[in-house]
Subunit: 263 residues, 4 copies
Amino acid sequence: MQTPVQDSLLIAGKSYRSRLLVGTGKYKDMAETRAAIEASGAEIVTVAIRRTNIGQNPGEPNLLDVIPPDRYTLLPNTAGCYTAEDAVRTCRLARELLDGHKLVKLEVLGDAKTLYPDVPATLKAAEILVKDGFDVMVYTSDDPIICKRLEEIGCVAVMPLAAPIGSGLGIQNRYNILTIVENARVPIIVDAGVGTASDAAIAMELGCHGVLMNTAIAEAKNPVLMASAMKKGVEAGREAFLAGRMPRRRFASASSPLDGVIA
Amino acid sequence: MQTPVQDSLLIAGKSYRSRLLVGTGKYKDMAETRAAIEASGAEIVTVAIRRTNIGQNPGEPNLLDVIPPDRYTLLPNTAGCYTAEDAVRTCRLARELLDGHKLVKLEVLGDAKTLYPDVPATLKAAEILVKDGFDVMVYTSDDPIICKRLEEIGCVAVMPLAAPIGSGLGIQNRYNILTIVENARVPIIVDAGVGTASDAAIAMELGCHGVLMNTAIAEAKNPVLMASAMKKGVEAGREAFLAGRMPRRRFASASSPLDGVIA
Amino acid sequence: MQTPVQDSLLIAGKSYRSRLLVGTGKYKDMAETRAAIEASGAEIVTVAIRRTNIGQNPGEPNLLDVIPPDRYTLLPNTAGCYTAEDAVRTCRLARELLDGHKLVKLEVLGDAKTLYPDVPATLKAAEILVKDGFDVMVYTSDDPIICKRLEEIGCVAVMPLAAPIGSGLGIQNRYNILTIVENARVPIIVDAGVGTASDAAIAMELGCHGVLMNTAIAEAKNPVLMASAMKKGVEAGREAFLAGRMPRRRFASASSPLDGVIA
Amino acid sequence: MQTPVQDSLLIAGKSYRSRLLVGTGKYKDMAETRAAIEASGAEIVTVAIRRTNIGQNPGEPNLLDVIPPDRYTLLPNTAGCYTAEDAVRTCRLARELLDGHKLVKLEVLGDAKTLYPDVPATLKAAEILVKDGFDVMVYTSDDPIICKRLEEIGCVAVMPLAAPIGSGLGIQNRYNILTIVENARVPIIVDAGVGTASDAAIAMELGCHGVLMNTAIAEAKNPVLMASAMKKGVEAGREAFLAGRMPRRRFASASSPLDGVIA
């Protein structure tokens, strides 16, 4: 009656036990980065190629010392790219630096304030990268039509935002996320906007296959403890989803279905 | 940097590692009851004295075989009582049946539809029971003034509802729960209305010291898996509370505090 | 097909066209008070007897010059009273000052921070005042059991809070307000916590019979324009309630009932 | 201190007193259509060219008899179009039927279930139509980047959805709508998803310049009364926005700013 052993997240043919994906930015130092990532239980760690040394600068501290590629699946991302061309170029650089590594997280930003995606440029870059043999996980808005289109292009995972990157506001449009999940045949991973453990649990309860976050852990007062909270939050939400929650109703006693009576 | 070992819940002088309290109603059979309670990790189990055989009916199945008192703290409750007198009498019966057991959960209901508490009768019963030497955990509405009054009377824990008993609606008034927690010097345990794991996490993130539930586990499609989800949800929320979440803000990039801009 | 002409609010045998009740505190000056109240269309105006001169101090500006009793129904209130005795005394003072005026708004506060009601003291004062011949409108928490009890005591209107006095947070617990309305045989008037016009509309859409507010108008940047907004918000909500809203559903196209799918 | 007389909505160089735009679908009959539109006070009425006879079928009832073009601004829309080409063709047909009428509402749908827009096709059609001399009001998702792009293309108004067409769910992502409004130099008109009067008020309180709806009026039990409610809801929200609402805070008494404490 427990979670089946085989409840794993499958991305690009590889199976993961953890459904929490984490970033590496905003930590105090490498030691804290390492400890938080370890506490999170994450197996996939995303790295901003334009901001992080993974070998480009030989004399400097290398993140790969903290996140050894034999232990973690590295997910190079294109944070900071504002055009399809830049994003494609960045992915190719990552592939070179990482000896042919195909898995990337594509993000093409629309502006520097909201950090919302530029959806048309994202579609364009996704097409190029998929044709070029990349396994593309893709950050996008929570628009169900666009998410389906990205799946059809051949992305291996679609990653709608919950709220603006770095906002910590939690899922703003649950109906959109739910619709995206219902339509999907590839993993849907909520990316951006999660602020605390219950936000992660809610994403999973909606049926999402995973959650990616960075700020919510790195900017907590105690990042390592928050990483542990997030690990449990994701697992709690996944198990609640699989367990099948009780129906909402106004009262226990009567036949009192909600029928959207309030919201 | 992990949760301190000593993060325990202290009720009536006894220390508990688990902050999830569970009931025993609505399960399919005794085996499911036992498995779900075990998966929940609960150490305190509440029992409706008027509906459950804990020895009153010698020839019938006895719940204490499933919840052995040497392993669990039994919490006899007065579910089904609509007057202070009835509730007091029921507590005394429980004390007799359980050889002087002092810990009880008081609930005096206001009506059979909402199962909301009758607050004046609850206050009255609490006074009598405290004077009579009981350790009273008390179900009440989410009114901060009443919660404080119940603490002043001498209750060992105050248990405001999140939403109607058996509704699964989650916390309806977060500000009230937050105010109750801020005012309290005894444990605040959200009782009633939790529907899924994220609801439990939210309660803990608001600073509650525990969560009590029954229907949300027993009426899940897979109660045992939901019990595990709830265990993790409570732990996730507790750790997130202790870790200190990042601030909510509209965007990462700018100085963009919320100031209650939306809600 | 329009609002029936006879859609009036009946309180203590008197009929009102306006369902917006307003206070008189926090305005810049008497001229602004007068202009805002006029723009609100209110016919019932509540006055804090302990803070306002309605004749107690003969040499000072008298609010009754701004709110002439031949045009408005004055509603003396017991703001600032923390005991049943004080509240009763204040009502009697008001009755004397206003030549036998029977209509009062009872509030007995529980503490100075939250300004939440002291429910037991409120019940006690309500009983005394009703027996003493007052027509009692009563401020209380949003507890459905207590609201019903106040009606049974003989109060002519029950006034649950939406959120703390002066908070502007809007209705925190819509299910409670809905339950209170469904149970009631006297007018239910949301009192306290409304912050903007949509909050007032929501209260009315839940079936409330009126809304009382002060801060939301007086502390708007333009109080007179906000008073007009509130008038329209209350009317909009009332008409929407009477018109019978469309059902919520996930999509137009399909049979897609909500069944509490999200919240 | 009242709403300035000149608070008008300016679209494509024409000024409107009403900020409520309505559709013509789903009514019982022409008489109800006429009565509801009249009660709404709308000056702009949108018509689905592919579903409505505005002269294409000479022998049949003509909607223009109910909505005389000398009294209303007709807004032909492309409801039912799933490609840019179809939408462009439909706009051109409307221009012919209406003697060179330039104002259109563009919608290119992404699928028949959600009725969400196809954003890339919408961008493409908007470019063609603007170049072809149309005044384009455009239905889109609530993505701030796309809304800005549509403005830059030259659309005269941008119309983000609040929730799926015909859902009545109200605004799902208030932060997005707020961001869209803050970024905009053309009118932002919430289109789709409004269910009741308070939803309309909320849209206006966020700073939107107008609201367009159809189902919420036509599928109310009493459409004419709901039309009046919506008129007042839009006005209430607009006035509340202009008046400048009080700040949200936890309590009146203390310095208790919210700082996003709950949500």
